[in-house]
């Protein structure tokens, strides 16, 4: 976790003399889920697009895995990086299979390997390969299109994924499912993800680290908890200080993150992937201040009321 995947140093970008990003420095560790968060026009999307050189920057350097991005041919660079955007950007005249295969085919993978990879990804995104590979995007629901969009971004197995408000255009229930899916993929693949959103709840749910941006500058960089408990400025406080946000944080954090491994407590255990809000509710209902926690392989430990406040 110590070695940075992305290192942005002193990067600036202006359009027609108007600064969009000013002297931004930001380091994203390997395996992190970094959410760029901020109001519209804060430069978060521009920052994301500078990483894969869709937007040229005026000053500073951006390194990916130690390599200066300007030293790599833009198309070669982009083929190494997964990219997903809002409203999916799926090619309407290509079948799901062809859409997912875009980058592997650009990289001239053999047909057999491409087909296997499409099958693997559709399965990973919980879409039945036989049903879906031959469909056209317009035959899919919004949520299914987003899944295909994510599968396409993962196609060439990039170490780094850039996602620009990928779930901005889907309904809340579908978004919830997609977020869960993305978290699962992040956990299982260990990829580094940079994710742009203006939705604080989405950021809290997904991020291991949040970079809040204000007018092209980094307002604060920290874990979700840091940002809620120790906002660095009035801007950050105003942005994250939504009524009851602390409770929402409990609703997105998992018991597994706070469990005291090996401790044994009597009672009906709660699953490790329950949220902290579930745990709190169970404590209130049972009038206890600690609960046993069960992982996938039997009991793993306990969680106490005090752990919720950490």
């Amino acid at each position: 976790m110590t070695e940075p995947m992305i290192e942005i140093t002193g990067v600036s970008k202006a359009y027609d003399g108007r600064a969009v990003v000013s002297d931004l420095s930001l380091s994203v560790p390997k395996g992190a889920f970094c959410v760029l968060l901020g109001p519209s026009g804060c430069g978060k999307s521009t920052t994301l697009r500078m990483i894969n050189r869709l937007v040229p920057f005026d000053a500073g350097t951006i390194r990916i895995d130690g390599e200066d991005v300007t030293q790599v041919a833009p198309q070669a660079l982009r083929r190494q990086i997964g990219y997903a955007i809002q409203s999916t950007g799926l090619f309407p005249h290509w079948r799901v299979e062809d859409n997912i295969a875009t980058v592997p085919r650009l990289l001239r993978w053999p047909a057999e390997r491409v087909r296997d990879r499409v099958t693997e990804l559709l399965t990973l995104l919980r879409l039945d390969p036989d049903t879906y590979r031959g469909k056209y995007p317009h035959q899919l629901s919004g949520g299914e299109q987003q899944r295909v969009g994510v599968a396409r971004a993962l196609a060439a197995d990039p170490d780094l994924l850039l996602m620009d408000e990928p779930f901005g255009a889907v309904d809340p229930i579908t978004r919830d499912a997609l977020q869960a899916e993305l978290l699962r993929i992040h956990r299982t693949t260990g990829k580094t993800i940079v994710f742009v959103t203006h939705d604080i709840e989405e950021a809290l749910r997904l991020a291991t680290v949040i970079a809040i941006m204000e007018s092209g500058r980094l307002a604060q960089l920290g874990t979700p908890l840091d940002i809620i408990e120790r906002p660095a400025s009035n801007f950050v406080r105003g942005f994250v200080g939504v009524q009851g946000i602390e409770l929402k944080l409990l609703a997105v954090r998992r018991v597994a993150d706070r469990v005291r491994r090996g401790e044994i407590v009597a009672g009906e255990p709660i699953p490790a992937d329950a949220t902290l809000a579930d745990a709190l509710a169970a404590m209130i209902a049972r009038r206890v201040d600690q609960l046993p926690v069960r992982g996938e392989d039997g009991q793993v430990g306990a969680i106490a009321l005090a752990d919720l406040l950490r």
């Binding site: 869709l54 833009p74 198309q75 660079l77 083929r79 950007g89 090619f91 309407p92 079948r95």
Partner: protein, 244 residues
Amino acid sequence: MTRTLKTPALWVGLLFAILLLDMPALRPLFAVSFPAVTPEIFDRAGFGELFLSHLGLVAASSVAATFVGMALAIFVTRPAGRDFRTTANMLAIIDQVFPPAAVLALAVPALGFGPKPTIVALFLYGLLPILENAIAGIENVPTALREAGRGMGLSPYQLLRDVELPLAAPVILAGVRVSVTIGIGTATIGSTVGALTFGTPIFDGLAGNKLPYVLQGAVLVALFAIVTDLLFGLLARRLRPPGS
């Protein structure tokens, strides 16, 4: 098969072919309607010959207009050519407002009589619809798709070939269709400068006060244009991108 039988292209095409090959069969009809005109059927050139020449003129000018129009449209929708977009459109509009007859008159001194000035006039006249539609078609490709394509590492050429042109194809084809259909009608005036077209009987008939010749030329050119338009309709249906 039943679907083929149902398309009007087949029936209108059949009518066109019969008239083209056997106009003399209508001799009694013209003899009764216009007893003063002999011979009843235009005979300075065969209708098949007129058709082939007419077709050749329209094909040559349309292929050239499509090629140039597409090339210009692609150029002005690239970052390097964006500044020329207004200029290209303006030029196309200017050559559209010159009546083809005037272009013919200007082209004859340079190119002589015959098919050449006609091809030039048809080319210039047919350029605008192709250029405008090609620009509109390419520009209407959603930004998100271009963005996604670039973001995944498609080269500008791959983006054009695999995304922009296939998605713009229906609109581009509609422009070619309009251009060709209008061109078929307009080509008749080529006969005033010595090109062989269905306009030849029309102008001969007008000059010699022989109405049957005008009718024969006019009906054939109209049917030619209609059949062509219907065929483009069939092509458009086939070309429609699968994802729509």
